[in-house]
């Protein structure tokens, strides 16, 4: 596997992402809307005594992780797009291992989602969130790994889908439970037992937990468990993505 090939393939996606100005602005603003509307809207309904931080500070790491989930998942639509517009054939006939193509896709997905995360983490303090800058820096690798895992899931779906509609349908079906059962919006202490089980089975819960622990000092699981689950998920889904992508025929 040649690093230069991965770089150029990933660069292609990032260049296209940056070139599409309207989409870029919408993508970067969307998470801020969550902080403004949900954060300030529900602030008074939230009991700071339960976690020790105000709701906006509590929510920001959840929104950052959510941004990674949405943007990494949907970045895989470029595979469906490439198939529909023919570019996929150019990639599949190239003398490059399929795993290289998958890795490049995962990297470009996490780079673009990191742009969103950076905006969230830079703007949040201006909105009054108390984020530990050093902790936020340490949260970046966790979010990168999580973004790559999510994009691998997207690639797995996209490799089996022939249409935009099919991809959109499956992805929405996956993304909503992953998001809502993750603790991005609520603390994990004292949940009803059934919900607690579902949340514990959801890898995103651990990504949110690590990010929140590092950024605002509130967490439910040990950080090593968080990191282990995220990396394990990445390895598992990454392998699945390579397998699905390799089986695909143009």
């Amino acid at each position: 596997m040649r690093a230069e090939v991965v770089y150029h393939l990933a660069r292609r996606d990032v260049v296209k992402f940056l070139r599409d100005r309207q989409n870029l602005v919408a993508t970067l603003v969307r998470p801020l809307l969550w902080i403004l509307a949900v954060g300030f809207g529900l602030r008074r309904a939230f009991d700071p005594g339960a976690t020790g931080v105000d709701f906006v500070s509590f929510l920001v790491p959840g929104v950052a992780t959510m941004a990674v989930l949405f943007s990494s998942m949907f970045s895989a639509i470029s595979i469906v797009w490439d198939r529909e517009f023919g570019f996929l054939k150019e990639l599949l006939v190239a003398p490059v291992p399929r795993a290289t193509l998958v890795l490049a896709k995962m990297i470009s997905a996490s780079v673009t989602s990191l742009l969103e995360v950076s905006v969230v983490l830079l703007v949040a303090p201006l909105l009054g969130a108390r984020i530990d800058p050093l902790g936020a820096l340490f949260a970046i690798p966790v979010l990168v790994a999580f973004g790559m895992a999510v994009s691998a899931l997207g690639i797995t779906v996209a490799s089996r889908m022939k249409t935009f509609e099919g991809f959109g349908g499956i992805v929405n079906f996956l993304i909503q439970p992953i998001f809502f059962f993750s603790g991005a919006l609520y603390p994990l202490d004292g949940l009803p037992p059934a919900l607690a089980v579902v949340v514990r089975l959801n890898p995103m819960s651990y990504a949110v937990d690590a990010t929140r622990g590092l950024c605002v000092g509130v967490h439910h699981f040990p950080i090593l468990l968080d990191a282990g689950v995220v990396l394990g998920t990445l390895a598992l889904v990454g392998a699945l993505a390579v397998r699905s992508f390799s089986r695909m025929q143009a």
Binding site: R2, E4, V5, H8, L9, R12, V15, K16, R19, D20, W81, D82, E84, F85, G86, F87, L88, K89, E90, L91, L92, V93, A94, P95, V96, P97, F164, Q249, A250
Partner: protein, 325 residues
């Protein structure tokens, strides 16, 4: 030069479920040849080209390309070939230069040579002045030329072209063919192409006529036409009924009535019309003799004319829709 042929295919078959798209095809293409696969849509042309390009696994048969086994060492084959697909395969949100650069990197063109190769390829297809422009602003003909340029960046030994000039206007088609001939003449590149255009097949050194997944004839265009033999003669007259009788009684011909007059096939058409004019007592107002075309060859071989299907209409609509998003 490598002594092995550019392409060697033996007993190649491909079945999709119950459908046998390619049924036991064999042929050999020598280095530096322009070899054409001629047949109607759905004859198995694209399926064969996809198997040769490592995009589709054959059901059975032997496929060797530039000496490499296509199923056993696909990456060696991929490095040795360039492919220009039937449908566009450029990234139209990138510039011409970016498309070519990505290709050069992926195919392992050394960094020091990239700039020169890109400029050379773009100049070759006359797009040097558009290299910084997004491909989406290009016309169909320009995109086609850019795809050809991209296929050349890694200097493949064999270039595959699936329906290379479909959907292009006659002028662009002619220009494209000049480019392709130049490649063979200047660089000794081997060209393998599929087409359902007869005039395009005329450009090939050799053609294989393919129908229902089988090769029904394989030779140079000239030899194929010679094999069909007879010239086509058109005769105009004000008394078609009388001339019909003469042709039938005297020469045993059954002419068709067409817009260009009565039409029939005979050996050595010119000599025949001289005899006809002197012997027949019917006033003739016009005569045309034409050599057999590949259309006639195809008709003689398969009993059908090559039809010009339009299976891609739905897909194009889908694309147009997707583009609006």
């Amino acid at each position: 030069m490598n002594p092995s042929p550019a392409i060697e295919v033996r007993d190649l078959s491909k079945r999709f479920g119950d459908v046998e798209a390619v049924r036991g095809v064999s042929f050999t293409v020598q280095e530096g040849e322009i070899f054409g696969f001629l047949g109607p849509n759905g004859a198995g042309k694209t399926t064969t080209i996809k198997m040769l390009c490592t995009l589709l696994a054959p059901t059975s048969g032997v496929l060797r390309l530039a000496g490499f086994d296509v199923t056993k060492s696909p990456d060696d084959v991929r490095r040795a070939i360039g492919v220009i697909f039937q449908d566009p395969s450029l990234d139209d949100r990138l510039t011409a230069e970016e498309n070519l650069l990505l290709h050069a990197v992926v195919y392992g063109v050394p960094r020091a040579e990239r700039r020169a190769r890109l400029d050379e390829a773009l100049a070759f297809v006359d797009l040097a002045d558009r290299k910084k422009d997004l491909v989406r602003t290009f016309s169909g003909g320009m995109k086609r030329r850019l795809e050809i340029a991209r296929g050349l960046v890694h200097r493949p030994r064999v270039l595959f072209l699936d329906e290379p000039t479909t959907g292009l206007d006659p002028q662009t088609r002619k220009a494209t063919w000049e480019v392709l001939r130049g490649l063979r003449d200047r660089n000794g590149m081997t060209l393998f192409l599929t087409t359902h255009y007869m005039d395009e097949a005329e450009h090939c050194d050799r053609i294989a006529v393919i129908d229902h997944g089988r090769i029904v004839a394989e030779d140079s265009p000239e030899a194929l036409k010679r094999a069909v033999g007879k010239d086509v003669v058109f005769v105009r007259t004000n008394e078609p009924a009388a001339l019909c009788d003469v042709l039938a009684e005297r020469y045993g011909l059954t002419p068709d009535r067409t817009e260009e007059g009565l039409c029939f096939r005979v050996e050595d058409g010119e000599a025949f019309v001289v005899r006809l004019v002197s012997e027949a007592r019917v006033a003739v107002t016009g005569i045309a003799v034409r050599r057999p075309t590949l259309d006639d060859v195809f008709l003689a071989l398969t009993g059908r004319q090559i039809r010009n299907g339009n299976g891609d209409a739905g897909r194009d609509r889908m694309r147009a829709m997707a583009r609006r998003r």
